[in-house]
């Protein structure tokens, strides 16, 4: 015991993560406050900027003359900027906040002196800013999910190494003897991301590989971002918040390990499905499709873990807004994964590849799953790390409904667009001897759906404004800081225990 306390005091002196001396979350939350607030504020800001870009690019799809003479906002560039900002700005900052807080809580370790972590966070966001400006200036790479120019990569990588290492140290410093499934998912994600990122940067930008090897690396990386970074983090968050919010353990928890390992083994291979029919050896694509079948196992495990837990819980607990967000996220995850499996079948891909149906499925995964889970999780975390409650709880409800409606409208509209587009572009609707549908006719048919997408994006702008207001107001409000604060701070059980 003596050595442990001396270790703690040494580490504390240096500012590294240390085991928390308290059993409750209070000091851990306090230690996590500054890093979490930095990452959440950054994520909120980028979310708003990215949504504005999304609105501009969506508008340009049905009204190409809109801001048409502004070179910096030409569709190709603004689309790239939108994707980069939403992924690396919103997505990663939210992920960092989640990962740090969850690992600190589950390992029962305090984050330590956060100054270096804050500097790393600033470097990350500076990298995103530089990348965004680079794309708008014309230095972008035109590679989906990797649009930022090569000079932003090292900045992001260096910042990440610091943040990731800090998170790992937080885990190591912990005293908990049991490791919960969330920690597995988060640790795996922390270990996988620097790998796929650095390999992609090297083989695509720094020392480009030969010919379509680049396409293979790109497919592996872009799909890996979903199955090996955002996916595990979102899943880990759901595994933590469902039991916390609903006061019951995960149903069939003993299956969770199988879900994790099957995702780990097969998740990396599915990237090859982005190249179905493409200029790469056919066997790689086949192995990707076979791996895509195998991912049914983790999907079933997740469904069997999440859905019974949610369904059997008391209605009163389900009224919590965090729960609403996370429940939508869980359903979207399972739904989007099943759709992906179908879209990866070669016969289906021959018709719907390269269409808006692909975009719809991708949006359902990134927004319907990850963003919704992130919103719900952050709304849980923020009151606890700041010691304040949301001044206007109904704004959380407004955010939830606008996000859900916007996401649903966008996904439905794009799915219908993609369906029509695929049939018209990749098949002969009139029969085997008929003429092909002229390309410009296809474009005309898509216009109503693209307009719907713009409407959906307007709704999402409202949703994200609500998010920014919620976060900002909470941080800036002068509410009571003491631990006798209202019950919104803790789960009802925590409150009852103190």
């Amino acid at each position: 015991m003596a050595s442990l306390s001396s270790q703690i005091s040494t580490s504390r002196g240096v500012g590294l993560p240390v085991a928390s001396p308290n059993a409750d979350g209070g000091s851990i939350d306090a230690s996590a406050r500054l890093p979490v607030l930095l990452f959440v504020s950054a994520s909120a800001g980028w979310l708003l900027i990215g949504t504005v870009f999304a609105l501009i690019s969506s508008f340009k799809l049905h009204a190409p003359g809109f801001l048409g003479d502004v070179e910096m906002l030409t569709f190709g560039r603004v689309k790239g900027a939108e994707s980069a900002v939403l992924t690396y700005g919103w997505g990663f900052n939210a992920a960092f906040a989640l990962v740090l807080w969850l690992l600190a809580r589950l390992s029962r370790a305090e984050i330590g002196k956060p100054i270096l972590l804050l500097v790393a966070g600033l470097f990350w966001n500076f990298g995103v800013l530089l990348g965004m400006l680079g794309i708008l200036a014309g230095h972008g790479t035109s590679l989906e999910w990797m649009e930022m120019p090569g000079y932003a990569g090292p900045l992001l990588f260096g910042a990440y190494l610091f943040i990731g290492t800090w998170a790992l140290l937080t885990f190591r410093a912990g005293r908990s003897s049991q490791v919960y499934i969330t920690q597995w998912y988060l640790l795996a994600a922390l270990l996988w991301f620097p790998w796929i990122f650095s390999i992609a940067q090297i083989m695509l930008l720094i020392d480009p590989a030969r010919g379509t090897i680049q396409s293979l690396v790109h497919g592996w990386y872009s799909h890996g971002l979903l199955t090996l970074w955002f996916g595990p983090i979102g899943i880990g968050a759901i595994y933590y918040f469902l039991p916390k919010l609903l006061s019951r353990p995960i149903s069939n928890y003993y299956l969770s390990g199988y879900g994790f390992w099957t995702l780990a083994i097969f998740g990396g291979w599915v990237g090859a499905t982005r190249l179905i029919g493409g200029p790469v050896p056919a066997w790689v694509v086949t192995s990707g499709i076979a791996a895509s079948f195998m991912l049914a196992v983790p999907i079933v495990v997740l469904a069997v873990n999440f859905f019974p837990t949610m369904i059997g819980s008391p209605a009163a607990l389900r009224r919590d807004w965090s729960f609403h967000f996370i429940a939508v996220g869980a359903v979207a995850l399972v739904g989007a994964s099943m759709v992906a499996m179908v879209l990866n079948l070669r016969g289906v891909a021959s018709v719907f590849q390269f269409t808006f149906l692909q975009t719809a499925q991708s949006n359902l995964t990134t927004y319907g799953f990850f963003s919704m889970v992130a919103f719900g999780s952050l709304y849980y975390i923020l009151p606890r790390v700041t010691g304040r409650s949301f001044p206007l709880p109904s704004l959380l409800g407004f955010h939830f409904w606008t996000s859900s409606i916007g996401c649903g409208l966008s996904v439905a509209g794009l799915a219908l667009a993609g369906y029509e587009q695929g049939i018209a572009m990749n098949t002969l609707p009139g029969g085997p001897e008929s003429a092909v549908v002229p390309f410009l006719d296809i474009v005309q048919r898509l216009l109503p759906y693209l307009f719907t997408q713009t409407l959906a994006t307007v709704v999402l702008v409202a949703a994200h404004l609500a998010f920014v207001v919620n976060v900002g107001w909470l941080i800036l409000s002068c509410a009571d800081r003491t631990s006798a604060a209202p019950s919104a701070l803790r789960t009802p059980l925590e409150a009852a225990a103190r």
Partner: protein, 222 residues
């Protein structure tokens, strides 16, 4: 957003320590087995096995010989390598496809081979098509510019070059196919043209030619 009255069921005091220890206990002490088998792990095992089975069969069937040079998943290099099962091309079908390619012959001479009166000459019953092979081949290889008389009518325009080295860059086989096609379509009944003939004409009769012909020049060729 208060939660109202409830009964805690299963997570103790709701702390993280409890979260972890309760779930760890769940792992160690599985629920008492009921009568017979518990369905879920069996179902999952069945799912996993059948997926492994289906996935493996899918992979073996569509592996394309695990050959980096095979881009068509249905192709098996072992069965195809044995003697000439390499595709037998039907020259007329191939020629028809080339003819009807957007931007190619059909653009001017139209799908019915009738051309556009006064603008583009017809190919149906055209003396240039079923006449001298050499003239026809050179015309297609290098293009034509200026006046040409077809079936009694005069046309004055430009026909682009289609042979090797031109914008279209069709190899000899493609030229042979499309000429074979037009020579038997729309009522024409002339002999097919062989790839070797195209090569011979291109490399010997008109070696080095890279400008379009005129009708006058072509008429000097037998």
């Amino acid at each position: 957003m208060s939660a109202g009255p409830h009964q805690p069921n299963g997570l103790g005091d709701g702390s993280d320590e409890n979260l972890q220890s309760i779930h760890a206990d769940l792992l160690k002490n599985k629920p008492e087995p009921k009568d017979g088998y518990s369905v879920l792990p069996l179902f999952l095992l069945g799912l996993l096995s059948s997926l492994v089975f289906v996935g493996s069969i899918y992979f073996v069937h569509y592996r394309g010989g695990i050959d980096p040079m095979v881009y068509d998943e249905r192709f098996d290099p072992k069965t195809a390598a044995k003697g000439g099962a390499a595709a037998q091309i039907d020259p007329i079908a191939a020629g028809k496809r080339l003819y009807n390619q957007p931007g190619a012959c059909v653009t001017c001479h139209q799908a019915n081979g009738m051309g556009i009166p006064g603008v583009f000459p017809p190919l149906a019953a055209s003396e240039w098509v079923f006449g001298s092979e050499d003239r026809l081949i050179l015309l297609v290889l290098h293009g034509l510019s200026g006046e040409i008389k077809v079936k009694g009518n005069t046309y004055n325009g430009v026909m682009p070059a289609f042979g090797l080295g031109s914008g279209y860059n069709w190899n000899d086989e493609k030229v042979a196919h499309v000429l074979t096609y037009i020579r038997q379509e729309w009522g024409n009944a002339a002999a097919a043209v062989a790839t070797a003939k195209i090569t011979e004409v291109r490399t010997q009769t008109a070696a080095g030619r890279n400008t379009p012909w005129t009708a006058v020049e072509l008429e000097t060729i037998p």
